[in-house]
Every structure is written in structure tokens, then in C-alpha cells.
């Protein structure tokens, strides 16, 4: 057993209001510079929808992630030999038109235009060429357009749905949608790292953050293709690839990443998971429907004395072990089994988990009213507004049972709280529901508290990352104090 710690995340989708505050908090700090204008390390998608870059989930086109070849995991995008031909031209790399051409407006014109009959206007100009552009697409072009045949119907997660289910989904009265905020998953089995010909991508051993070494990156773009979540972006100006860094300079000084800190809906949780790195490959080599369980089996119990001893042996500090025990992530993922990774079938073992949304599922109309009675509620799951199958395609590699388990538990918790607050539900019924939902009153209470009432300190349990130890050999922490993340900041420039 090789116990490693991972700073991982849970997004509670029921609480996301689709405000994009997170995206902007990230953009303003990290990607507001030439070459990175089009990058959205954090973006929020409307589902059903085509996402960003357009149709990123269509791996028959983009070839991201791993495929199972017999018992072995292989990259979908390349093998060790054709990787060399693909240095010259990568047939599956998304191009500018798959994202959008970044633009700004010619604001000076508003002040400098000569006097004339018309009001001066600020026309849009490309941030790449400076020439006027016709805006044909932008990030979140399909925002809130879940009913649109142009976007939502192309969502690849709808592929396996029956015609009837599709019709239900797009019936005008019933149209529903959810928001899906996405950042890099800081995967435990990252295909981006495995694809990098130069070995510039790496996973930090202490906290599991996946980073691109800008010195070593030679712009081969293999990772852009290999990441199935399209969370690596090629900077057209510097000629290097970039990705979400989980705000490590902030984490290293004990602060919360920007997108977490700014989240209006407080949907985001951050904490430590311990997992067994020796089992990664084996865990990700099982059939699709078993993937969720097999990922859980690699995540270790932070209270188990054997695990603690092994963790210590690997140099994991007491503070990390303590954080792992208090981790809200461990609760959502392992204890309550409510949070699921996005598209586990890509087999990268993502370390960002989502609690699937309940609201659209429950919002079933009955005679022009929202169905609110408890009878047959669980059986109503099948005709839910957002088909269970659709959620399963997103969060459990198509395994409907897992989604049903989560939904039942979430519904049970909700009715339990309702019965406490309103007292309008029969106790026998509540008990039956809790049994079917696999949840005890104590647990329901705990879930409710962490979901609805949690304070900052409960949502974000960040251990000291002890970066000062790591750099102690190259730089005296006293002297490096104040510099970015205790490192030496280097300007990434395009050379001659």
C-alpha cells in the first residue's frame, strides 16, 4: 500500500445558481492576459447542453481519457509511437473554433470618433489579431438554453435515451436544466500527465495538485487532447499549455482557492482524502458499471490505525491526517456516498465529486402543481423531469442504481427535515422513507447541517501544505516570504 493524500473537492449541484461568479473570480486572477483570454479554468455549463469547448464530452471526436484494452489502460489519444507523428499535427486537438475567438470592444472610438450624424459605437475586435470580428460564439453560448434544439439536443449524454425520454425532456412545459461548474479534477490517474511527451505535467505527491512545469513544457499539446475534460488549454502566445492550479499559491498560505471563496451558492467543499496509489491502475480497469465502487475502494479510512501508520511512513504529516479525518469530502464521498465523480468512464479517477441535483428531478408537475406528496415518491423517480439515465451518464458511467441510491437518500433527508420543521408528514411514512433511503435520523441531521448550515471552516478543511519545508533547501522561507506561493515567480514569455 502506498498511501497518498489528495486535496479534493465536492460541488453540491443542488445549490448552484449558475451565476458564474466562480468563473470570473478565477479569470480575474489567473487568465486575464494575452494568450489566455479564451481560457476558463473554471467554467459553469448548462446541462443538457454542449458545454465548453463545444461538445467536449464527445470522446469519439476528441479522444480524451483512457480506454480499456483487455486488462490494460491505454490512452485513447495516442500510443508511445504515434505520439511522435502527432507532435507535428494532432488530429484531435480542439482548435480556436471549438472554443471561441476572444474579443474586446474598441472603446476608444467612443471618445475619439469625429463628429457625425450617428452615435459612435464600440465595435468588437479580436484579441488575437486586433481585427474586427463577427461574434459567432463565446463561452457559455448555450447558457440557460436547455430547451434549444441547437445546443441541448446535441448533448452526448442524451445519446442512449429513448425517444420518449427525449421528448419528455424537451416538452416545453417541462423543460428543465441544471448547472455544472467544472474545474480540473486533479485526477489520481491523470491522462494529461501520461500523455505529456516532455514529462512537464506532474502530480504533486503531497497534495495531489496536477501542474504543468512551464520550463519543461515544449508545446506538444498532447495533454490538450488527452484530458477528457478539456481542462488543459494551449496558450497561443507563449506556446505552452496551462491549466487550473487549484490556486496553490493560496492553498499554501492557508487560503481557499478563488472559485471556492467566491462561490455565491456555497456549493463548494474542499478537504483531504487518503487513497492507495498502488491500486489506481487496477481500480480504473474494471467494467464501466463497477467504476464508482472501485474508485471508492481505493479511498482509505482516515481513522483506521493501519492506514494512519502507513500514511506516516509515507511522510504524510499529522496535520494532514487530522485534516483527512475532519474532511467534508470524506463524508460526502465515502460515509454518505452522496458525491460522485463526473464521467468516471474516462477512467482518470477524478478527485472532484458532485452531489447530483435533486430539484429538477423533484420538480415533477402534477395538474399544474409541483408534486409534493410523499406517496410513491420513489417510484416517481423513473418519470423524473431530468431522466435518471441522463444523470447516470454524467455521474456514474450509466449505472442507474447508483444515482437512484443518491436520489433516495437526498429525498429522505429532505422529507425528514420537513417533518421536523412542518410536522405535516406521518411518522410511519418518514421511517419507511428513511429505511428505503438508507439513512438514519442522525445521519440525516448531519447531512442537512453540512449541506445547509456549514460554516467556512467546515466547508474548507485545509491542512498546512508545509511548502516552506519543501523549498527549505533552495530558499530560506524568511527571505522568500511574500513571493508567490513561496516559490520564485518566473515570467512566461514567448522566446524568439
Amino acid at each position: 500500500m502506498d498511501i497518498r493524500a489528495q486535496v479534493s473537492m465536492v460541488f453540491h449541484l443542488d445549490k448552484c445558481i449558475g451565476c458564474h461568479t466562480c468563473s470570473l473570480a478565477c479569470k480575474n486572477v489567473w487568465t486575464d492576459r494575452p494568450g489566455a483570454e479564451y481560457m476558463w479554468w473554471n467554467n459553469v455549463e448548462t446541462k443538457p447542453g454542449t458545454g465548453f469547448p463545444t461538445l467536449w464530452e464527445d470522446q469519439s471526436h476528441y479522444k480524451g481519457g483512457w480506454k480499456l484494452n483487455g486488462k490494460n489502460l491505454e490512452l485513447l489519444s495516442q500510443n508511445k509511437l504515434d505520439a511522435f507523428i502527432k507532435l507535428f499535427y494532432n488530429p484531435n486537438q480542439p482548435g480556436l473554433e471549438d472554443y471561441y475567438e476572444p474579443w474586446t470592444y474598441q472603446y476608444e472610438n467612443l471618445f475619439t470618433a469625429p463628429e457625425g450624424d450617428d452615435q459612435p459605437t464600440a465595435i468588437p475586435v479580436s484579441q488575437i489579431t486586433g481585427e474586427p470580428v463577427d461574434i459567432v460564439a463565446g463561452p457559455n453560448w448555450d447558457d440557460d438554453l436547455s430547451g434549444s434544439p441547437l445546443y441541448a439536443e446535441n448533448d452526448v449524454n442524451l445519446d442512449e435515451l429513448t425517444d420518449e425520454e427525449r421528448e419528455q425532456l424537451f416538452e416545453i412545459e417541462r423543460i428543465s436544466m441544471m448547472y455544472l461548474p467544472r474545474i480540473c479534477n486533479h485526477c489520481a490517474n491523470p491522462s494529461c500527465v501520461a500523455s505529456c511527451p516532455s514529462g512537464a505535467l506532474y502530480k504533486r505527491g503531497e497534495d495531489g495538485i496536477v501542474l504543468v512545469n512551464q520550463d519543461m513544457c515544449k508545446g506538444w499539446r498532447a495533454c490538450v487532447t488527452a484530458c477528457p475534460y478539456k481542462k488543459i488549454y494551449y496558450n497561443w502566445k507563449t506556446g505552452k499549455s496551462e491549466k487550473c492550479i487549484l490556486c496553490y499559491p493560496k492553498l499554501e498560505t492557508g487560503q481557499v482557492p478563488n472559485c471556492f471563496q467566491s462561490c455565491v451558492g456555497r456549493i463548494r467543499y474542499l478537504g483531504v482524502l487518503l487513497y492507495d496509489a498502488d491500486r489506481i491502475a487496477a481500480c480504473m480497469s474494471v467494467p464501466n458499471h463497477a467504476l464508482i465502487e472501485s474508485q471508492r475502494s481505493a479511498i482509505c479510512d482516515p481513522y483506521d490505525p493501519k492506514i494512519i501508520a502507513l500514511a506516516r511512513k509515507n511522510g504524510i504529516s499529522e496535520e494532514f491526517i487530522d485534516a483527512a479525518q475532519k474532511s467534508p469530502i470524506y463524508k460526502y464521498v465515502m460515509k454518505w456516498k452522496l458525491a460522485l465523480p463526473l464521467h468516471i468512464e474516462y477512467r482518470t479517477m477524478p478527485m472532484l465529486f458532485y452531489v447530483p441535483p435533486l430539484l429538477p428531478v423533484m420538480g415533477k408537475m402534477d395538474n399544474g402543481h409541483y408534486a409534493n406528496t410523499i406517496d410513491g415518491f420513489f417510484s416517481g423517480l423513473e418519470s423524473a423531469r431530468l431522466p435518471i439515465k441522463y444523470l447516470a451518464n454524467l455521474f456514474s458511467a450509466g449505472n442507474v442504481e447508483i444515482i437512484e441510491y443518491v436520489m433516495k437518500k437526498l429525498i429522505a433527508v429532505r422529507y425528514y427535515r420537513r417533518s421536523l420543521d412542518m410536522g405535516d408528514i406521518d411518522l410511519v411514512q418518514i421511517n419507511r422513507m428513511m429505511r428505503e433511503g438508507n439513512v438514519s435520523p442522525e445521519e440525516a441531521e448531519e447531512i442537512y447541517r453540512l449541506t445547509a448550515l456549514a460554516t467556512v471552516d467546515q466547508r474548507f478543511v485545509i491542512p498546512p501544505l508545509q511548502r516552506e519545508e519543501a523549498i527549505s533547501e533552495t530558499c530560506n522561507p524568511e527571505l522568500c516570504r511574500g513571493s508567490c506561493g513561496l516559490g520564485v515567480p518566473v515570467n512566461v514569455e514567448r522566446g524568439p
Binding site: S198, G205, E493
Partner: protein
Amino acid sequence: MMDTFLFIALPYVAFVICVIGTIIRIKKWPVSYSALSSQFLEPKALMWGSVPWHIGIVVITVGHLLAFCFPGLWQSMMGKAEILLATETIGFAAGVVCLAGLIVLILRRIGSSKVQAVTSTMDLIILGLLLAQVLLGLAVALHYKYGAAWVSGTASPYLFSLFTLQPNLQFIQDLPVAVKAHMVLAYLLILLIPFSRLIHMFAVPLQYVFRPAQNVVWNNPRHSEASEANYQQEEARREFIKGAAGITLGCGVLAIGTVDKVYNFFFGPRLSAKEEEEIMSTRLKRLQMTANQRKLELERQTSNFILVSALSDLKANEGKYFIDFNMNTAMAFAGEDGLPILMSAKCTHLGCTVSNQVDEKGQVLCPCHVSFFDVKTGKPNAGAPAKNPLPMLPWAIMDKRGKVIAERAASGQITGDTALSSIKECNVYITRDLEGKA
């Protein structure tokens, strides 16, 4: 002078700057270089440009390197007509593929405003140089055929002389301008590597083939300390196994060797006296050859007259080969007037040895690229690849007592008593001091 600059100074300067510049850029400013791909901005034309260009240029570069690094092997391979033909064809095809790719890349760089946004002046310079270089290469291949063969007598030894720090321009002096320009451009491109995007050629990620899929970096000294103990244990075991394996292997090899020697000593095949004699005599012959060669060289360094042949032995229709003062082949004929004709046998085109058989038109043939030379004047036929006549060598006729009867100066002027009847018994020599300063 110009040649010294272009073919001795420039290559050294280019090489030194390239090596030092590249090392500095890679070590001190690694963040500044990458493949600088613009596929993101413009993928379509890029595919038709980048792929053919890179594949073509890799094939061609490998070919050039093989010819320069293994001249012996290369030469013997090119001796076979089929291999030579195949090599020429592959090289030429790769060149055409390169050219096509390059043209697409240039048009794309000029044509797309997005690509222009990431284009520097240096990019344009490099593209221009590369275009010129590829065109020159193709022109040489078309016009001076079988470069794969003649390179071993010209550019390869020249480059070798550069590498051994004894630059010798003799090998390339007679090369056509196009070939020389191709070399100069190559030096310029090498010079520009560290200052341009060309440096990405040193980023070829060969290590990718061998590295494990995942790459985990620990910064934490506690992790290394904690795993130090484990590691040391394992390391010790590994070292022990390695050592043991090494010793076993070494002993094994030694043992086999010893057993073999001992066995041969007692039971091995005995050489018969005749076989032994043969071995000795080949050895002797080899020594003799070296000695002769050496003697010839010394002789040519010290004496002013070197015997070619008895005058009466010279024939009009078949030249007699000999070695001149520069250790080059030359040949001697009997002229119509009874006086000897001595001319260089080193073709003025690319230096092959010209045949000594005179045809009915009074010409000798250089077989390499078919140049005919007139025996009387040394002039090549019209339209031959060789443009300059074979130089005539000065000679002297001496009688048995060493008295010069007649001689021909480098200028071609003949002095002395050529009508002497006893001239038939005299010998022909080549002369040094009269040999033109060429």
C-alpha cells in the same frame, strides 16, 4: 580568401555559437522555447504543411548525417548501382515532399491573420533560408546526379578534416557553386538555431518512449526521509544483486576465455607450416605496402625529378598511370611528335580518376558523370559536366647519366634538343621546380 572565410571560419563560428548558445538557452532560459505550435489558431493548412515538411526533413537530415558520419560504409554501399539509385530516389522524393510542405507553411504564415499574430521577423528569416536551402538541395540533386556517391570523395572528407581540426579545402575546391552555397546556408542555419524557433529540434521528447505513465513529484523532505529507510534497504539489496550479477557475468566470461585458450593450446587445431607461412607473408606484404606508400611520399617531398617511365615504353592509345607530386593520379601518353604527354588524371568536375584508354576521337573518358577529355589539349568536350581542362604536367627527358636532353615547362614551352637520335633510350621524369605554382 573568401573560401577560407566561408568554409573554415564560418563553420567553426557557427558550430561554436550553436553549441554554446543552445546550452545556455536550454539551461538558463528553458521557459523561452517550445515547438511554438500554431495549430490552435489554424489547423487545416498546418496539417498539409507541417506533416510533410517534418517527415521529409527528418529523412533528409538522417541521410546527410549517415553520409558524413559513416563515410566508409556509405561509400561501399553506394558502390552498388541499385542502392545508389534507391538512395538518390528516396532523397529526391523526400526533398520534394519537404518543398511542398514548406510552401504550404509559408503561404499559411503569410496568409492567415491569426498566424501572423504569432509570427516574428526571425520566423520569416528562417522560412526564407529553409526555402532557399531546400531549392538548392533539389537543384544539386537534379543537376549533379549521384551526389550520394560523390559526396564521399568531397564533402565528407572535408567535414572530417574540419572535425579533426585540420581543415582541408582541397576536397571541395572544385565543387560547383550550388553545392557550396548549400553548405554555406547550412552553416547559417546552424548558427541561427539558438536564436530562433529552430531550437525546438533539441526538444524531441525521446524519453517519452521509456518513462512510466504517471509522474509524481514530491517536494516534501519528510517523504524522502521517511522513504529513505525503505529505499536504502531496497537499494542495498539491489546493489548486492547487481554486484553479484556483475561478478558472475565477469567470471563467466573470463572462465570461458580461459577454458578456450587452454583447450586450444592442447587440443586446438595446429597450423600447417604452409598456413603459417601464408599468414606471415600476408603480414609482410601489408608492411611492404605501407613502406612503399611512405617511400613514395618521402620521395615526392624531397626530389625534384621523379621517374615516370622509359620514353620508349609510352603508348599513344593507352596512358600509363603514375603518382604526381601532390600524390594525385596522373597519366602519360606518347605524343605524335615522339615527345611525351603528361596530364593530370583527376577529373576537374568532381575529382574522379579519368580512364587511360584513348578512343578513336583521341579522347579519354571520366566515367563518373561522362566527361570526355582531349588527350592533346586536356580540354573537355562541349556540354560535359567538367568545365576545365585536365592540367598538363611539366616533364623532363634525361639520358642515362642524368643529363637533361629536353624539358617542358609548366607554361607549355619545350626546350632542348628534341631531335637527338639517342632520345629513344632516355627516361621521362616529372619535374617539380618547373611545375606551375598551381
